[in-house]
Assembly symmetry: C2
Amino acid sequence: MVRQPELYRTHRALDALGVPPGTEVVLSGWVQRRRDLGSIIFIDLRDRSGIIQLVFDPARGTPPEVMAEAERLRSEYVINAAGPVERRAEHTVNPRLETGTIEVLVRRLETLNAAKHPPFYIEDDIDVDEAVRLRHRYLDLRRPQMQRMLMLRHQVTRALREFLDARGFVEVETPILTRSTPEGARDYLVPSRLQPGEFYALPQSPQLFKQLLMVAGLERYYQLARCFRDEDLRADRQPEFTQLDIEQSFLSLAEFQSMMEQMMQHVFRTVLGVEIPVPFQRLPYQEAMERYGSDKPDLRFEMPLSDLADIVRDAPFRVFQDAIAQGGVVKALVAPGCAGWSRKQTDELVQFVGTFGMKGLAPIAVAGEEFRSPIAKFFSPEQLSAIAGRAGAGDGDLILIGAGPRATVLQAMGALRSKLGHDLGLIDPDAFRFLWVTDFPLLSYDEEEGRWVAEHHPFTMPRWEDIDKLESDPGAVRAQAYDMVLNGFELGGGSMRIYRRELQERMFQALGFTPEEAHRQFGFLLEAFEYGTPPHGGIAFGIDRLVMIMGKGKSLRDCIAFPKTSSGTDLMTMAPSEVSPEQLEVLHLSVKGPAAKPHGTAAAAPRG
Amino acid sequence: MVRQPELYRTHRALDALGVPPGTEVVLSGWVQRRRDLGSIIFIDLRDRSGIIQLVFDPARGTPPEVMAEAERLRSEYVINAAGPVERRAEHTVNPRLETGTIEVLVRRLETLNAAKHPPFYIEDDIDVDEAVRLRHRYLDLRRPQMQRMLMLRHQVTRALREFLDARGFVEVETPILTRSTPEGARDYLVPSRLQPGEFYALPQSPQLFKQLLMVAGLERYYQLARCFRDEDLRADRQPEFTQLDIEQSFLSLAEFQSMMEQMMQHVFRTVLGVEIPVPFQRLPYQEAMERYGSDKPDLRFEMPLSDLADIVRDAPFRVFQDAIAQGGVVKALVAPGCAGWSRKQTDELVQFVGTFGMKGLAPIAVAGEEFRSPIAKFFSPEQLSAIAGRAGAGDGDLILIGAGPRATVLQAMGALRSKLGHDLGLIDPDAFRFLWVTDFPLLSYDEEEGRWVAEHHPFTMPRWEDIDKLESDPGAVRAQAYDMVLNGFELGGGSMRIYRRELQERMFQALGFTPEEAHRQFGFLLEAFEYGTPPHGGIAFGIDRLVMIMGKGKSLRDCIAFPKTSSGTDLMTMAPSEVSPEQLEVLHLSVKGPAAKPHGTAAAAPRG
């Protein structure tokens, strides 16, 4: 039995760069690789800080028993080594290693632990099935790029806290075991043992509690809150996720938005050294949809959609005429420099927009003064010039035109814009382009329910100047709601809240609720609002996504230490799992349906 | 409809102290109280920072319409007021108010919101049933002492993070939806919709994941982690709680303990301005039990237990003789200055120790040279003097002696010591007395199972010098496990972990596990340990309790924003609750037993 060494370390690998040559250091870490040159052995030692070369050389004083021990080392063995730091000879400097100018001449060595041969190399850009990486997540996380992502996440949350703490925001923890709600996504439920037949629900967000903290006079609250939604998991969604949840009282919408911009500026400056300009562009929802076909446009490139209806209205082209006659739209965008694209290339785009339900896509290539297009014959030269002018197309560009129902065309053309932006290399991968999308509609008409429903939630504040349309023209009322968008992702969203009873009652009326229905659905929250609720509002940011964008990750799974697959499985612990009949018994539950699968091997989570 | 005021505030109440007289300020907050003096109205305005007096006086320029509005104000109305800050006249200074030397002469006033009369006063030390406070938690949290507690909690977690961040610890979030484990307390379960009949479990601690992060080479991890235990709730326990979870690699036990001491020193210095001396006292478990009858002794006062066996062994007093003959103990402690206590008073103590199963308590009062006691006759004067000498009793003191089985006597006398310390006012309420209790036994013999079981968990490291007793004398092996104790509470506990396979196998053997059983119970964790596990160890601190002690709270519920009752109910949201049959249907579950109760009124948790 090896006891522990007298000292695990005096320095980390990277710290050894800072000591004068000859300084004795003690290091601990993992064997990254071993090269055996007959009489000399080189070991790359890895710790969290980086990698350093250890030299075992009898000619330079490594004792024979240390040579023998070094010969036994294999990849991922854990070792403790001591000796002087030496400058490397000029021709042995390794420019690919941060510590490539130095090495440690080992005089003492202890093997702290052996290791089996790992199932994949502990290095970046490995080509390994993700399932294998997830099953051995503890090895996957040893890879430098995963360690960097964990650090980045820590630095981001630290910078966020730093900013908010300095402005008097107080972090408050709200319950994870809470109450199931009638609205929103599907809840994860937790059966109660003490109250048979009753269930807690895991929170979809701390919305309820953060508004109550404003009623409680806390004025400025935040929380890095774990949230849960039992939704069908798309490729890149997790059943649990972390949001930065913020709520404040007594700030105007403009003051609050400005503060949130400064927060992002602080985070990017502190963590990445990148300067984000403020104020962010504001784009009303309607304009975002019309101009970019998206409520979260990627503004790292422009490529706007333009409206051609007034130009093409009278041309004898049925597709456009029908679309306009049926209340639809005709929208164009320009693929710069793509006038020479083949039929095959444009057909692929037709197929692409087809997946969004758009029936076709008319291309017009601009070649000098000429317009080449299968539909050119339907338009006069003046009309074609007007189209090019409106779209902003010049020589060598390709105009792509979609027509049909407004929602379908906007979505399809928005997706096409995004695809072309990527495919044509129009996007600066190092750019961070923020904007606010504002003025979302407060209500939308639900054909199925035959009533107006809240777009955000029923406590969202209308714009002051729109309040009087609540009864006369509900669809025209804009909300004091806002999304923060970064590089085409919705980073966060929030709203100012209704805080006065008379307005809340008008809102419920607009939603077709009787006072009794409102009470049944929103119970004590409405009661709480009666006791002196301040003007308040807030926002919630997706931390996993923010980290993914900042770290240029490919998937949310790269930003979460122990993620789940799209079927909600943790491949390492194999959660979820069967539980014992006794466990179900005390919860007053039985499982319906096909017989249970046999028990798998169990994961232990001892206490301490 | 009132629109929002041009500006909600230029200052908070307390900030107004810092401005020159005559400065115009705009304030927002709640009406704490209103005094109507006929022509003049005084309003105490409360915001998060404190309270300030507003004056409405027509003679000093308050316009008539503002006077009229002020007359309509009631307690807890939310208002926005503007006017110049003025120094109060000498005789109107209010020394009980931090801002008592100033007032704001109101020129403009807007009522932002009305309020119903609250069910209790928004002030400290109210005498209200806790259930009422919990039901209206949003009002309870308005009280200054609750706000202070929320702030304190924030400051404590901030200081902890500050300390750990500066030392290279990385906060990593581990899953809340994880796997049920065969050991430990009862798990809360979460049914999986996608995998019928399978369940996630909420973590009792991140133990598993933090050790895996050490395997992953993270070296220094922490997390403010939400943990869950479905135990029968004692008066002061919560189903969910927060722990500061820490794990590190490559630090010796002594280095790690010293770092944790410095962390507490930092927190107390930063948050309370209190200097905690380091290093903390170390007390081996055996000594703590023998000397204080507790493994978490309150050392704010001394009052040690002393062992009388050798003195009283030969005296003809059957109770003591029997106890010793049966392998038990005779233990004394001294109640200073209590020689004059009545029979009734000592009888109450007998009753008290009786609740711990101890059969009696023999009092000996020391009065000058005399010993007064119903049992004095059984002992020689020399024996009585020896007893007093051993116990450390002098003139006027009362010696209390218990005898019986070791465990019973130690527990009862330990509780008695604690009770007397409080009752006799021996405890400085402002003192913070830290210590480490160390060297817990690694194993204890479970009579029921007929085998040795792990006291902490099966990965706890034995002391190096005790390892060779694992087979020969398992009960004598001490663990590298430690508790941090503060003022009689266990603040945190942890251990160094076994990281080498051969020792782990010996440990499993000592526990009577076959390799197959070990694999079935501890599955992939053992596999992970094969890939190069570094020496590591850690600790977990109860944050709720730390905040309670620092804030001198009476209950954990005072340190948690939205706590649950001892039956696990949130009286505000009324969680847990019934859920719809459809919700159970998609989870493949049915509830057994008596018919469900009718639906209550629902709590809303809209999204956003």
